[in-house]
Protein backbone atom coordinates (compact mmCIF):
# COMPACT_ATOMS: atom_id res chain seq x y z
CA UNK A 1 0.00 0.00 0.00
CA UNK A 2 3.06 2.21 0.36
CA UNK A 3 3.53 4.18 -2.83
CA UNK A 4 -0.14 4.65 -3.70
CA UNK A 5 -0.99 6.08 -0.31
CA UNK A 6 2.01 8.40 -0.43
CA UNK A 7 1.02 9.77 -3.85
CA UNK A 8 -2.57 10.28 -2.68
CA UNK A 9 -1.46 12.07 0.47
CA UNK A 10 0.85 14.38 -1.50
CA UNK A 11 -1.91 15.32 -3.95
CA UNK A 12 -4.55 15.87 -1.29
CA UNK A 13 -2.34 17.85 1.07
CA UNK A 14 -1.20 20.27 -1.64
CA UNK A 15 -4.79 20.78 -2.69
CA UNK A 16 -5.91 21.28 0.91
CA UNK A 17 -3.26 23.93 1.50
CA UNK A 18 -4.12 25.70 -1.75
CA UNK A 19 -7.84 25.69 -0.94
CA UNK A 20 -7.12 27.09 2.51
CA UNK A 21 -4.99 29.89 1.03
CA UNK A 22 -7.57 30.65 -1.66
CA UNK A 23 -10.40 30.70 0.85
CA UNK A 24 -8.52 33.00 3.20
CA UNK A 25 -7.47 35.40 0.41
CA UNK A 26 -11.07 35.48 -0.85
CA UNK A 27 -12.29 36.46 2.60
CA UNK A 28 -9.58 39.07 2.84
CA UNK A 29 -10.17 40.70 -0.55
CA UNK A 30 -13.93 39.92 -0.78
CA UNK A 31 -13.46 38.31 -4.19
CA UNK A 32 -15.15 34.97 -3.56
CA UNK A 33 -15.00 32.66 -5.49
CA UNK A 34 -12.37 33.74 -8.02
CA UNK A 35 -9.16 33.37 -6.00
CA UNK A 36 -10.39 30.05 -4.68
CA UNK A 37 -10.86 28.85 -8.26
CA UNK A 38 -7.37 30.03 -9.17
CA UNK A 39 -5.78 28.40 -6.15
CA UNK A 40 -7.51 25.07 -6.72
CA UNK A 41 -5.73 24.91 -10.07
CA UNK A 42 -2.43 25.99 -8.53
CA UNK A 43 -2.90 23.44 -5.76
CA UNK A 44 -3.37 20.69 -8.30
CA UNK A 45 -0.16 21.81 -9.98
CA UNK A 46 1.67 21.84 -6.65
CA UNK A 47 0.35 18.36 -5.90
CA UNK A 48 1.70 17.11 -9.21
CA UNK A 49 5.01 18.80 -8.43
CA UNK A 50 5.11 16.94 -5.10
CA UNK A 51 4.40 13.65 -6.87
CA UNK A 52 7.08 14.40 -9.44
CA UNK A 53 9.58 15.05 -6.64
CA UNK A 54 8.52 11.74 -5.10
CA UNK A 55 8.58 9.56 -8.21
CA UNK A 56 10.59 11.49 -10.79
CA UNK A 57 14.30 11.10 -11.50
CA UNK A 58 16.37 11.89 -8.42
CA UNK A 59 18.88 14.73 -8.74
CA UNK A 60 22.48 13.71 -8.12
CA UNK A 61 22.44 14.12 -4.37
CA UNK A 62 25.23 15.63 -2.31
CA UNK A 63 27.73 16.91 -4.87
CA UNK A 64 29.77 18.28 -1.92
Amino acid sequence: MGIGLRVGVELVSALAVAVAIGWWLDNYFHTRPFLLMLFVLLGGAAGLLNVWRLLGPKPQSKPK
Binding site: L5, R6, V9, E10, V12, S13, A14, A16, V17, A18, I21, F39, L42, G43, A45, A46, G47, L49, N50, R53, P59, K62, K64
Partner: protein
Amino acid sequence: MAAGHTIDALGQFELHSVLGPVGASVGFSESSMMMVVSSALTLVLLGVGMSAKAVVPGRLQALAEMLYDFVHKMCIEQIGEEGKKFFPFIFTLFMFILLGNLLGLLPFSFTYTSHIAVTFGLAAMVIVLVTAVALYIHGWHFFSYFFPAGAPIALSPLIVTVEIISYLSRPVSLSIRLFANMVAGHVMFEVFASFIVMMAGAGLVGYLGGAGPLALNVILMGFELLVACLQAYVFAVLTCIYLHDAVHLH
Protein backbone atom coordinates in the same frame (compact mmCIF):
# COMPACT_ATOMS: atom_id res chain seq x y z
CA MET B 1 -17.44 -2.59 20.38
CA ALA B 2 -20.17 -4.19 18.36
CA ALA B 3 -23.42 -2.96 19.81
CA GLY B 4 -26.22 -4.85 18.07
CA HIS B 5 -25.40 -4.94 14.38
CA THR B 6 -23.42 -1.72 14.12
CA ILE B 7 -19.68 -1.45 14.15
CA ASP B 8 -18.39 1.57 16.02
CA ALA B 9 -14.91 1.67 14.52
CA LEU B 10 -14.11 5.27 15.50
CA GLY B 11 -15.21 5.18 19.15
CA GLN B 12 -11.75 3.96 20.12
CA PHE B 13 -10.26 7.35 19.22
CA GLU B 14 -12.43 9.25 21.70
CA LEU B 15 -10.60 10.94 24.52
CA HIS B 16 -11.58 10.57 28.17
CA SER B 17 -9.89 12.06 31.17
CA VAL B 18 -7.85 9.74 33.35
CA LEU B 19 -6.54 9.78 36.92
CA GLY B 20 -9.93 10.62 38.43
CA PRO B 21 -11.01 14.17 39.41
CA VAL B 22 -7.46 15.52 39.34
CA GLY B 23 -7.03 14.47 35.71
CA ALA B 24 -10.49 15.71 34.80
CA SER B 25 -9.86 19.18 36.20
CA VAL B 26 -6.82 19.71 33.98
CA GLY B 27 -8.11 17.74 30.98
CA PHE B 28 -5.46 15.04 31.32
CA SER B 29 -6.57 12.48 28.73
CA GLU B 30 -5.43 9.00 27.72
CA SER B 31 -3.49 10.71 24.97
CA SER B 32 -1.49 12.85 27.41
CA MET B 33 -1.09 9.81 29.64
CA MET B 34 0.46 7.75 26.85
CA MET B 35 2.74 10.64 25.89
CA VAL B 36 4.06 10.77 29.43
CA VAL B 37 4.46 6.98 29.45
CA SER B 38 6.36 6.91 26.16
CA SER B 39 8.64 9.78 27.17
CA ALA B 40 9.34 8.08 30.48
CA LEU B 41 10.03 4.77 28.70
CA THR B 42 12.51 6.48 26.38
CA LEU B 43 14.33 8.01 29.34
CA VAL B 44 14.32 4.72 31.23
CA LEU B 45 15.55 2.81 28.18
CA LEU B 46 18.45 5.20 27.61
CA GLY B 47 19.19 5.76 31.30
CA VAL B 48 19.09 2.15 32.45
CA GLY B 49 20.38 0.79 29.16
CA MET B 50 23.49 2.92 29.15
CA SER B 51 24.18 2.76 32.88
CA ALA B 52 26.02 -0.56 32.46
CA LYS B 53 28.60 0.97 30.06
CA ALA B 54 29.72 -2.56 29.20
CA VAL B 55 32.11 -3.16 26.31
CA VAL B 56 30.04 -6.17 25.34
CA PRO B 57 26.52 -4.72 25.65
CA GLY B 58 23.63 -6.50 27.30
CA ARG B 59 20.22 -6.62 25.65
CA LEU B 60 18.98 -3.25 26.90
CA GLN B 61 22.28 -1.53 26.19
CA ALA B 62 22.39 -3.05 22.71
CA LEU B 63 18.88 -1.75 22.01
CA ALA B 64 19.75 1.74 23.22
CA GLU B 65 22.98 1.76 21.21
CA MET B 66 21.28 0.46 18.07
CA LEU B 67 18.58 3.12 18.20
CA TYR B 68 21.18 5.81 18.81
CA ASP B 69 23.41 4.60 15.99
CA PHE B 70 20.48 4.18 13.61
CA VAL B 71 19.25 7.75 14.03
CA HIS B 72 22.79 9.15 14.13
CA LYS B 73 23.66 7.46 10.84
CA MET B 74 20.40 8.63 9.29
CA CYS B 75 21.15 12.24 10.29
CA ILE B 76 24.64 12.17 8.77
CA GLU B 77 23.57 10.35 5.60
CA GLN B 78 20.59 12.58 4.90
CA ILE B 79 21.73 15.98 6.09
CA GLY B 80 25.51 15.71 5.89
CA GLU B 81 28.09 16.57 8.55
CA GLU B 82 25.87 19.39 9.82
CA GLY B 83 23.30 16.72 10.64
CA LYS B 84 24.98 16.04 13.98
CA LYS B 85 23.59 19.33 15.26
CA PHE B 86 20.05 18.17 14.62
CA PHE B 87 20.53 14.70 16.05
CA PRO B 88 18.89 15.39 19.46
CA PHE B 89 15.78 16.77 17.78
CA ILE B 90 15.48 13.92 15.26
CA PHE B 91 16.12 11.30 17.93
CA THR B 92 13.47 12.76 20.24
CA LEU B 93 10.98 12.96 17.39
CA PHE B 94 11.74 9.41 16.24
CA MET B 95 11.47 7.85 19.69
CA PHE B 96 8.29 9.77 20.53
CA ILE B 97 6.52 8.64 17.37
CA LEU B 98 7.93 5.09 17.45
CA LEU B 99 6.87 4.48 21.04
CA GLY B 100 3.53 6.17 20.43
CA ASN B 101 2.84 3.84 17.51
CA LEU B 102 4.09 0.71 19.25
CA LEU B 103 2.46 1.34 22.65
CA GLY B 104 -0.78 2.03 20.83
CA LEU B 105 -0.83 -1.59 19.67
CA LEU B 106 -1.08 -2.88 23.25
CA PRO B 107 -4.59 -3.73 24.47
CA PHE B 108 -6.30 -1.03 26.60
CA SER B 109 -3.76 1.44 25.35
CA PHE B 110 -4.22 4.58 23.31
CA THR B 111 -2.43 5.66 20.13
CA TYR B 112 -1.78 9.38 20.41
CA THR B 113 -0.36 9.44 16.87
CA SER B 114 -3.86 8.60 15.61
CA HIS B 115 -4.94 12.17 16.34
CA ILE B 116 -4.29 14.73 13.64
CA ALA B 117 -3.86 17.37 16.35
CA VAL B 118 -0.79 15.51 17.64
CA THR B 119 0.75 14.65 14.29
CA PHE B 120 0.11 18.11 12.87
CA GLY B 121 1.61 19.61 16.01
CA LEU B 122 4.79 17.61 15.42
CA ALA B 123 4.84 18.42 11.70
CA ALA B 124 4.29 22.12 12.35
CA MET B 125 7.19 22.06 14.80
CA VAL B 126 9.36 20.44 12.10
CA ILE B 127 8.45 22.96 9.41
CA VAL B 128 8.98 25.93 11.72
CA LEU B 129 12.39 24.55 12.67
CA VAL B 130 13.30 23.90 9.02
CA THR B 131 12.28 27.40 7.95
CA ALA B 132 14.07 28.98 10.90
CA VAL B 133 17.25 27.01 10.15
CA ALA B 134 17.13 27.99 6.48
CA LEU B 135 16.58 31.67 7.32
CA TYR B 136 19.34 31.57 9.93
CA ILE B 137 21.90 30.01 7.57
CA HIS B 138 21.00 31.69 4.28
CA GLY B 139 19.15 34.85 5.30
CA TRP B 140 17.17 36.43 2.48
CA HIS B 141 18.86 34.13 0.01
CA PHE B 142 16.51 31.41 1.34
CA PHE B 143 13.69 32.80 -0.80
CA SER B 144 15.56 31.84 -3.98
CA TYR B 145 14.53 28.31 -2.96
CA PHE B 146 11.09 29.09 -4.36
CA PHE B 147 12.43 29.99 -7.79
CA PRO B 148 14.60 27.39 -9.54
CA ALA B 149 17.59 28.87 -11.32
CA GLY B 150 17.28 29.09 -15.10
CA ALA B 151 13.49 29.26 -15.26
CA PRO B 152 12.08 32.02 -17.51
CA ILE B 153 11.37 35.13 -15.46
CA ALA B 154 7.97 35.59 -17.12
CA LEU B 155 6.75 32.42 -15.44
CA SER B 156 7.90 33.52 -11.98
CA PRO B 157 4.45 34.36 -10.52
CA LEU B 158 3.21 30.90 -11.42
CA ILE B 159 6.32 29.00 -10.33
CA VAL B 160 6.75 30.87 -7.06
CA THR B 161 3.10 30.37 -6.08
CA VAL B 162 3.20 26.68 -6.88
CA GLU B 163 6.51 26.23 -5.06
CA ILE B 164 5.18 28.03 -1.98
CA ILE B 165 2.05 25.85 -1.95
CA SER B 166 4.26 22.80 -2.35
CA TYR B 167 6.44 23.96 0.55
CA LEU B 168 3.44 24.63 2.77
CA SER B 169 1.92 21.26 1.91
CA ARG B 170 4.89 19.49 3.51
CA PRO B 171 3.66 19.63 7.11
CA VAL B 172 0.17 18.68 5.96
CA SER B 173 1.33 15.62 4.04
CA LEU B 174 3.74 14.71 6.85
CA SER B 175 0.98 14.78 9.45
CA ILE B 176 -1.72 13.17 7.30
CA ARG B 177 0.56 10.27 6.35
CA LEU B 178 1.26 9.28 9.95
CA PHE B 179 -2.27 9.95 11.15
CA ALA B 180 -3.95 8.09 8.26
CA ASN B 181 -1.73 5.03 8.65
CA MET B 182 -2.44 4.79 12.37
CA VAL B 183 -6.18 5.36 12.04
CA ALA B 184 -6.52 2.88 9.16
CA GLY B 185 -4.72 0.16 11.11
CA HIS B 186 -6.76 0.59 14.26
CA VAL B 187 -10.05 0.82 12.39
CA MET B 188 -9.24 -2.47 10.65
CA PHE B 189 -8.47 -4.10 14.03
CA GLU B 190 -11.78 -2.89 15.40
CA VAL B 191 -13.79 -4.02 12.37
CA PHE B 192 -12.31 -7.54 12.31
CA ALA B 193 -12.60 -7.84 16.09
CA SER B 194 -16.28 -6.90 15.79
CA PHE B 195 -16.70 -9.63 13.18
CA ILE B 196 -15.35 -12.18 15.65
CA VAL B 197 -17.89 -11.12 18.28
CA MET B 198 -20.74 -11.12 15.78
CA MET B 199 -19.77 -14.56 14.49
CA ALA B 200 -19.54 -15.96 17.99
CA GLY B 201 -23.10 -14.79 18.57
CA ALA B 202 -24.27 -17.22 15.88
CA GLY B 203 -23.58 -20.37 17.89
CA LEU B 204 -21.28 -23.29 17.11
CA VAL B 205 -20.95 -22.57 13.38
CA GLY B 206 -20.13 -19.00 14.32
CA TYR B 207 -17.29 -20.09 16.58
CA LEU B 208 -15.70 -21.85 13.59
CA GLY B 209 -16.44 -18.90 11.32
CA GLY B 210 -14.92 -16.52 13.85
CA ALA B 211 -11.55 -18.15 13.35
CA GLY B 212 -11.26 -16.37 9.99
CA PRO B 213 -11.30 -12.78 11.26
CA LEU B 214 -9.25 -13.84 14.27
CA ALA B 215 -6.50 -15.16 12.00
CA LEU B 216 -6.73 -11.98 9.95
CA ASN B 217 -6.29 -9.89 13.08
CA VAL B 218 -3.20 -11.86 14.06
CA ILE B 219 -1.69 -11.26 10.62
CA LEU B 220 -2.76 -7.64 10.80
CA MET B 221 -0.95 -7.23 14.12
CA GLY B 222 2.31 -8.25 12.48
CA PHE B 223 1.65 -5.86 9.64
CA GLU B 224 0.82 -3.05 12.05
CA LEU B 225 4.10 -3.60 13.91
CA LEU B 226 5.83 -3.04 10.57
CA VAL B 227 3.75 0.06 9.83
CA ALA B 228 4.39 1.48 13.30
CA CYS B 229 8.17 1.29 12.86
CA LEU B 230 8.05 2.30 9.20
CA GLN B 231 5.98 5.41 9.80
CA ALA B 232 8.23 6.57 12.62
CA TYR B 233 11.19 6.06 10.28
CA VAL B 234 9.45 7.87 7.41
CA PHE B 235 8.60 10.83 9.62
CA ALA B 236 12.18 11.08 10.86
CA VAL B 237 13.75 10.59 7.44
CA LEU B 238 11.51 13.21 5.81
CA THR B 239 12.40 15.64 8.57
CA CYS B 240 16.05 14.94 7.73
CA ILE B 241 15.43 15.53 4.01
CA TYR B 242 13.69 18.83 4.73
CA LEU B 243 16.57 19.83 6.98
CA HIS B 244 18.99 18.90 4.19
CA ASP B 245 17.10 21.24 1.86
CA ALA B 246 17.22 23.93 4.52
CA VAL B 247 20.95 23.56 5.11
CA HIS B 248 22.03 23.20 1.48
CA LEU B 249 19.16 24.85 -0.48
CA HIS B 250 18.83 22.04 -3.09
